[in-house]
């Protein structure tokens, strides 16, 4: 095939894409989604009802919480992004991956990192940096595996059969490059023993590097690659091109440019110099513009297809995902304003914000993509089309229960902590009293999380039976509305 600007491939041509690697990452995604969310439900139970810590060091909240965050972000989130990247990159570049061997080294390397995390974190081995807890030998392994992925990805780019890079590819590129830089810079440490190391940064510098990393982990692990997925799979599922391609590239550059500077909003009212706090705050507030540009571009892609949104669970998942993306990127800039942050910081409001992004945006866009994929890659109709709708409603109501209860809890805590009586003393001097009042909200959150997990279990069973079921006859067109 000759290299052309946008590389039209005639129908029926076999380019020879590697679909096996896509299926491998797909399977890993579903498995780790269940594990990560189950641990989420367990720690939610522990917060509401302390005996669930079981009195054993390995099962206490402090050790299981980083297990949850690592499992959902890097195991579920990582694998789902790799699934989408390996599938859509090959198709958008009209070529097979650069190296099948590197693809497999990437796959097995990433899964072994996850297993090592699942063993070391409950044992209490950690370097105590949020979202970068893993001890240094695992950090080295992550670096090696990431380089393998990078070579494979950019190798594929180099041998592409098209000149233009579709916007999803730009989002993937930012993910591959930025995560490498963030991981290496934040994890720089001097090893003392196999299990222990000392960071090269100290004090305020350490805090700044950590939250430059932490915020950009949100930006470049939970946002840009998922936007790439949105720009490929939403048009595919809706069967119409993205609303404005020009907006999409402006959205891309503005977003990656602004994100990098926003980290200090995690360090407001800290010892960080005022000007740096203000800088972080200003960039965070500006972030709303490209974020909403992306949201609108996603929603407007569905113009003229809203009748299908009512019946097609795939589009329903995607619409809710994009809406939650809009909500959390409105909430985030608000929480970055110093005065608002003074109320929100350290409260459950932050947890509500996190999960409206994580369950609403990351989770729902992933589910939509996975339902689309299982039918198109395995070429089978869903075993239980109605279950997909049930899953959608369980997840949506679950998110609402989770986020609303956390917002209420967070506002209550924040207001009670700072409330003063007429004499100018703390109105609630006994901290633990406020904590005890949170309990009903924690149970509601648990209910929401359990519903979300139940939906994910239904999805896994549905996929299992779909994949084992009979293949769709070649002549039959791909169903769009599955219920």
């Amino acid at each position: 095939m000759e290299k052309t600007t946008t590389g039209t491939v005639a129908a029926g041509t076999d380019v020879g894409y590697d679909l096996d690697i896509v299926k491998m990452f797909f399977t890993a995604t579903v498995v780790w989604a269940l594990v990560g969310m189950l641990v989420g439900v367990i720690i939610a139970l522990q917060l509401a009802w302390w005996p669930a810590n079981l009195g054993l060091p390995w099962t206490t909240f402090g050790r299981l919480r980083p297990l949850h965050t690592n499992a959902v972000i890097f195991a579920f989130g990582g694998n789902v992004v790799f699934t989408g990247i390996y599938h859509s990159t090959q198709r958008l570049l009209r070529t097979r991956m650069f190296s099948d061997t590197l693809s497999r080294v990437h796959f097995w390397g990433w899964q072994s990192i996850i297993v090592l995390a699942a063993v070391t974190l409950p044992l209490g081995m950690t370097q105590s940096k949020e979202y970068a807890e893993l001890i240094w030998p695992i950090d080295v392994l992550i670096t090696v595996v990431w380089v393998v992925f990078g070579v494979n990805f950019f190798g594929t780019l180099a041998r592409r059969k098209v000149q233009h890079l579709y916007v999803a590819i730009w989002f993937y590129m930012s993910f591959v490059i930025t995560i490498a830089v963030l991981h290496i810079v934040n994890s720089l440490a001097v090893p003392a023993t196999w299990f222990r190391s000392y960071p090269v940064y100290s004090g305020l510098t350490d805090a700044l590097v950590q939250w430059w990393y932490g915020h950009n982990a949100v930006g470049f692990f939970l946002t840009t690659p998922f936007l790439g997925l949105m720009y490929y799979y939403l048009p595919r599922a809706a069967e119409r091109p993205v609303y404005s391609y020009r907006l999409s590239i402006i959205h891309f550059w503005a977003l990656v440019f602004l994100y990098i500077w926003a980290g200090p909003h995690h360090l407001l009212y800290s010892a960080l110099p005022d000007w740096a706090q203000t800088l972080g705050m200003v960039f965070s507030v500006m972030l709303i513009a490209p974020s909403w540009g992306g949201m609108l571009n996603g929603l407007l892609t569905l113009r003229g297809a809203w009748d299908r949104v009512r019946t097609d669970p795939i589009l329903k998942f995607m619409v809710v995902a994009v809406s939650f993306y809009g909500m959390s990127t409105f909430e985030g800039p608000m929480m970055s304003i110093r005065a608002v942050n003074g109320l929100a910081h350290y409260t459950n409001w932050v947890i509500g914000h996190v999960h409206s992004g994580a369950l609403g945006w990351v989770g729902m866009i992933s589910f939509g993509m996975l339902y689309w994929m299982v039918q198109n890659i395995w070429k089978r109709p869903l075993a239980h089309p109605t279950w997909a709708s049930h899953h959608f409603w369980l997840a949506t109501i679950g998110i609402v229960l989770y986020t609303v209860s956390m917002w209420a809890a967070g506002l209550m805590e924040g207001l009670q902590w700072r409330a003063l009586n007429d004499a100018g003393q703390l109105a609630n001097p006994i901290f633990v009293d406020i904590t005890a009042r949170l309990n009903p909200f924690l149970w509601i959150r648990l209910l929401g999380g359990a519903m979300y997990l139940t939906g994910a279990v239904m999805m896994a069973v549905n996929f299992w039976q779909t994949i084992r079921g009979p293949e769709r006859p070649a002549a039959e067109p791909v169903p769009v509305a599955a219920d």
Partner: protein, 59 residues
């Protein structure tokens, strides 16, 4: 120099750096918008937007 004065001088310099950065960033951004929305590029942009549908395949 008096430490207070030194700090003031540093913040004035910082102000210049931030001001210059703002101008450069804004210019790059506007240039980018201009490039993307040039009528000449319209057809090309729309064609790139259709790339997910032009690979003839099924999955």
């Amino acid at each position: 120099m008096n430490p207070l004065l030194r700090e003031a001088a540093a913040s004035v310099q910082l102000g210049w750096v931030l001001g210059a950065m703002t101008v450069v960033f804004l210019a790059v951004f506007l240039g980018w918008v201009f490039w993307a929305y040039r009528p000449k590029h319209r057809a090309m942009m729309e064609e790139i937007g259709r790339m997910p549908f032009m690979d003839g395949g099924d999955a």
